[in-house]
């Protein structure tokens, strides 16, 4: 008897209920977990500019999309169905048959890039601090174009003021607005995919932003098909004639 007692010591704590406690916690986190990440259409709003009046845009360079209060689409002054919007936007971006009412794409050549680059570098060297930033921007712009040519060869670019202008009525539904944004985004994505597939053998959406080589490719494709959807200044459509 005496021998047995000495051997016992402080008994071990029963760990059998540990699993139950862990289960409880696990179930709590299972219930509260939301795995889905937020998805959506990313847009950049234009900064507020004081005097808008001075801007004169060439009509052929603007793809005008109006959505009225009854969610109907008026594109380039014609009623169309939303299904045709994508094709329309693509035609605007590419202007395949060189129509007069669509933007004229101009060819960019390596020679021109080098010439401009040399010119800007000259200016930059002579510039004082106040105007330096502007020339640096110019150098960057033309370097980007040159890089694009190295990657995809000579390409044509949209005029600088070409844009898709989207305006809505005050009672347009938000759903319709998102659908239109979605179609426009589709159009640009498809064009980019086609170009990327042709030049690099992979779709634009498959290019990896974190990869250095792909990064240059993404920039090049973006130069050819820039995404310029203007979040236009709110306009009262009823006052428009």
């Amino acid at each position: 008897m005496l021998k047995k007692r000495a051997k016992q010591g402080p008994g071990e704590i029963n760990a059998g209920s540990m699993a139950d406690i862990a289960f409880l916690l696990l179930i709590f986190f299972l219930v509260t977990t939301t795995m889905d990440t937020d998805v959506g259409i990313l847009r950049l709003l234009p900064p507020i500019v004081e005097d808008q009046e001075s801007e004169i845009i060439n009509q052929r360079n603007v793809y005008e999309v109006l959505v009225n209060d009854a969610d109907m689409l008026l594109v380039e002054k014609e009623f169309i169905d939303i299904k045709d919007l994508r094709a329309g936007a693509k035609e605007f971006m590419t202007n395949p048959s060189n129509l007069d009412n669509l933007p004229a794409r101009t060819r960019v050549s390596a020679a021109e890039c080098r010439e401009q680059l040399a010119q800007y570098k000259g200016w930059l060297a002579a510039a004082d601090d106040s105007s330096k930033a502007r020339f640096e921007e110019g150098v960057k712009k033309w370097e980007g174009k040159l890089k694009a040519i190295e990657l995809i060869g000579d390409y044509t670019e949209l005029p600088n003021d070409a844009l898709i202008s989207l305006q809505t009525g005050s009672k347009t539904s938000y759903n319709m607005y998102v659908q239109v944004q979605n179609e426009l985004e589709s159009a640009i994505r498809e064009l980019r995919d086609e170009l990327s597939k042709e030049k690099f053998g992979r779709k634009f959406t498959e290019l990896d932003e974190k990869n250095d080589v792909d990064q240059d490719r993404i920039k090049a494709v973006r130069l050819v098909y820039p995404q310029r959807i203007s979040e236009a200044e709110p306009v009262d459509l009823t006052k428009k004639n």
Binding site: M18, T33, D38, G40, L42, L45, P46, Y174
Partner: protein, 150 residues
């Protein structure tokens, strides 16, 4: 010696000692991936569907605005704006944007996305007004939150 003889014949029970460890592993997985809903929604938001969507990568750099009809029917059916935990007027957007900026490091301020979670039946007038306010506060990076369409 006699002890060994006793065990013969009966199959030993499977040890459950490692069960807590397995459960803990699962637990930690869920603890790490979990994102708890930080606001009480006071407006009803049914997101529109879209196909061309981008994922918002860094959740820490996203602020949410909710627009939709109030869940409390007594407040009417007109869409309202919700910031943080409460309804807000349009002129409260600017201080809200500033508060959002102050919470982040200075270098990250330009990268904050304001995600608009807007009910799909809202009129554009209201959304445009909100967008104008955001522009005035220089919060230019926005996201129209949608659900992923087929």
């Amino acid at each position: 010696m006699s002890r060994f003889k006793e065990k013969k014949g009966s199959t030993p029970a499977i040890s459950t000692a490692s069960l807590p460890d397995i459960i803990f592993m699962l637990l930690f997985f869920f603890m790490v991936t979990t994102v708890m809903r930080e606001v009480d929604l006071k407006v009803k938001v049914v997101l529109p569907e879209a196909k061309e969507v981008t994922k918002l990568e860094d959740k820490a750099l996203v602020d949410y605005l909710y627009i939709g009809p109030p869940s409390n029917k007594q407040l009417g059916t007109e869409p309202l704006l919700q910031l943080n935990d409460d309804f807000a007027r349009l002129d409260e957007i600017d201080p809200w944007v500033k508060a959002g900026n102050d919470r982040r490091d200075e270098v990250l301020r330009g990268k904050i996305t304001r995600s608009l979670k807007v009910d799909k039946d809202t009129y554009m007038k209201f959304v445009t007004d909100v967008k104008q306010e955001l522009r005035k506060s220089n919060a230019l990076k926005i996201n129209y939150s949608t659900s992923r369409g087929r």
